[in-house]
C-alpha cells in the first residue's frame, strides 16, 4: 500500500514538473530568438538609421532622425551618405575589388580543394581518418597566425626568396608582400579548409560503385566526372563556396597584413571610415550597401541549391 502510495506521489510529482516545464516552454523556445533580435537585428536596424542620418560634429557624430525642439517636431533624414558613396569611384572600386577577390579565391579554393577532398574521401578508412585529422588541424589553428605565417614567408629576407635565389631564379630578393597577389594567396591558404571540409562531407557519402558503373557502361573519365561525380557533390560545392565567398567579401585582416595600397578592399574602408575618419553615417551606409551587395550572391547560391534539391526529389 505504501509502495503504491509513494509511486503515486512520484507520478504526481513528475506530472507537476512536466506542467512546470511546459509553462517554461515559452522561454525555452523564444530566449535565443529574443537574443538574436536584440543583439543582431536591432543593431542592424540601428546602422540603417544612422546611415540615413545627417553627419554632425559632436558625440554621437550624427543628428537624430527625429527631434523635438521649440520649432516643433522635425524629421531629419538624408540619402546623401549613399549618394556620396556611389558617386565616388573610390568606394565603388573597393566594392568591386572585394567582390573580385572573393570570386577569384572561391574559384581557386574550389580548384585546389576539390581534388584533395576527393582523394581524402576515397582513401581507405584507416588512412582517411588520419588525413581528416590533418585537414582539421589547420582549421583549428588560429586564423591570424596562419596569415602571419605568410607574412614571414614572403618577406624580402624570407624563405621563399632564399629558395628562389638559391635555385637561380632570382639574383636579389624581391618584396612579395604588400600587393593583391599576396592577398589572394593568403585568402586561399586560410580559407582552403572551409572549402575542403564540406566537400569531403558530401564526397565521403558517395558510392564508389557509381564510378565503376559509369566506366563499365563506357563513359569516358571526363564524362564520369561531369555527369556523375560533379552533380552529386554539388551541395558540397555550394556550401564550401558560401563559406569562402561570404566572409572574404568583408575580409579585413588579410588585406591589412599582406596587402598594399595597390588595391583597397571594402572591409578596410569601413574600418578606416569608422576608426580614422570617425564618420559614422558614411561607415553605416557602407555597411548597409555591403549587405545589399552580398544578398545577390547568396540568393543565387540558394536558388542553385533549391534547383538541385528539386531535381533530386
Amino acid at each position: 500500500m505504501t509502495k503504491l502510495n509513494s509511486n503515486l506521489m512520484i507520478h504526481q510529482y513528475f506530472c507537476l514538473m512536466i506542467r512546470y516545464l511546459k509553462k517554461q516552454n515559452f522561454w525555452f523556445v523564444f530566449t535565443p530568438y529574443f537574443w538574436l533580435v536584440l543583439f543582431f537585428f536591432i543593431p542592424l536596424a540601428l546602422i540603417f538609421k544612422i546611415s540615413i542620418s545627417v553627419s554632425e560634429w559632436g558625440m554621437p557624430p550624427y543628428r537624430d532622425l527625429f527631434s523635438l525642439s521649440e520649432e516643433g517636431f522635425k524629421f531629419d533624414s538624408t540619402l546623401s551618405n549613399y549618394l556620396f558613396i556611389f558617386s565616388d569611384p573610390f568606394y565603388i572600386r573597393s566594392y568591386l575589388n572585394s567582390l573580385s577577390l572573393a570570386f577569384t579565391s572561391t574559384i581557386l579554393c574550389l580548384v585546389i580543394g576539390y581534388p584533395i577532398a576527393f582523394y581524402v574521401a576515397k582513401s581507405q578508412a584507416n588512412i582517411r581518418i588520419i588525413l581528416l585529422v590533418l585537414l582539421i588541424i589547420p582549421f583549428w589553428t588560429s586564423f591570424l597566425l596562419r596569415v602571419y605565417a605568410w607574412k614571414v614567408l614572403l618577406q624580402g629576407s624570407g624563405i621563399i626568396n632564399s629558395i628562389l635565389i638559391h635555385l637561380g631564379f632570382l639574383t636579389e630578393p624581391i618584396s612579395m608582400l604588400h600587393n593583391h597577389y599576396a592577398v589572394i594567396l593568403g585568402v586561399v591558404y586560410t580559407y582552403l579548409p572551409f572549402m575542403i571540409l564540406p566537400l569531403y562531407g558530401y564526397l565521403v557519402k558517395f558510392d564508389l560503385n557509381l564510378i565503376d558503373a559509369a566506366n563499365d557502361l563506357g563513359a569516358k573519365p571526363v564524362n564520369t566526372f561531369l555527369k556523375v561525380i560533379l552533380p552529386l557533390s554539388l551541395p558540397g560545392i555550394i556550401a564550401g563556396s558560401m563559406l569562402v565567398f561570404i566572409p572574404v567579401v568583408g575580409e579585413f585582416v588579410i588585406p591589412e597584413m599582406l596587402g598594399g595600397s595597390d588595391k583597397l578592399y571594402f572591409g578596410k574602408i569601413i574600418w578606416d571610415e569608422f576608426f580614422v575618419n570617425r564618420d559614422w553615417p558614411v561607415a553605416s551606409a557602407l555597411a548597409m550597401s555591403g549587405i545589399v551587395i552580398l544578398v545577390f550572391p547568396i540568393v543565387i547560391f540558394q536558388l542553385m541549391y533549391a534547383k538541385y534539391n528539386f531535381k533530386n526529389e
Partner: protein, 272 residues
Amino acid sequence: MQNTILRMNKLFFKIFTLTIGFSFLYFPILTLIAYSFNDNKRVMVWKGFSFRWYKELFQNEQILEAFYTSIKIASLSATFATIMGVMIGFSLTRISKIPARPFFIFLSSSPLVMPEIILGLSLLLFFISSNHIIGFPSSKGQLTVLISHITFSVAFVAVIIQSRLSSYDKNIEEAAQDLGTIPNMIFWKITAPVILPSVISGWLLAFTLSLDDLVVASFTTGPGANTLPIVVFSKVRLGLSPEVNALSAIIMLIVVLAAISVYLINRSNIKK
C-alpha cells in the same frame, strides 16, 4: 597489364595531389615553428637554436593576460552559445507547430552570412546608443565582447544541433513514449546521448570562433578586455615578432594534442 598501368597512374596522381595539397597547408605553419627556435631578433635570419623567445613569451605580462581573457571569454561564450543553439535546434526540429517556421529559420541563420566587420560595427554602435539611452552596458569591456561572441556563435551551434536532430530516427523517442517512459527520462536517456557528440563539437566550434575572432572583438572591446588576437595583431600589423612565432608553436602543439585525443576517442568509440 594496361589496367595495372592505369591503376599505378591513378595511385601516383592521388599521392602527388595529396602531397602537394598537404604541403601547401603545412609548409607555412611548420616554417613558423622552426623559426621560433631561432636565436635572432630578425625573424628570418638564422643564428642558432634557442628557447629565448619562449622564455620571453612567458614573461610577457600583456600576452599572458590577453591569453587568460581570451580563454575566459571563449569558454563562457561557447557555453551560452551552446545552450541557446540547442534551444534553437529543438525549437526548429521538434515543435512542428511553431508558427512562421521559415521566419525563425531566417532569424537563426542570418548571422551565418553576415561579414564580421558589419557585425562588429553594428554591435559597437548598438552598445554606444544603449549606453546613452538606458545606461547599459556602462562601459565597453569583457561583457560587450562576450555578448558579441555569443551572438555570432549561436547560429553555428544551432546548425550543428539541428542537422543531428533532424537526421536521427524520431521513432525511438515515440517507442519510448509508448512504453510509458516519462518525457524527462526520454530526454536524458535517449535524446541527450544522441545529440551529445554534436553538443560537444558545437561547443568546440563556438570556442574556436571566439578564440579566433579579431574583428568583432576590436570593435566591441574596451579597457581591460584585450583578447589574444587583438594583442597579436597589434604586434604583427606592421612587422614581425619572434615572440609571436613562439606563441604559434605553442598553439599548434595544443591543437595537435587536441586533434590526436579526438582521433583516439573516435577510434575507441568505433571499436566499441
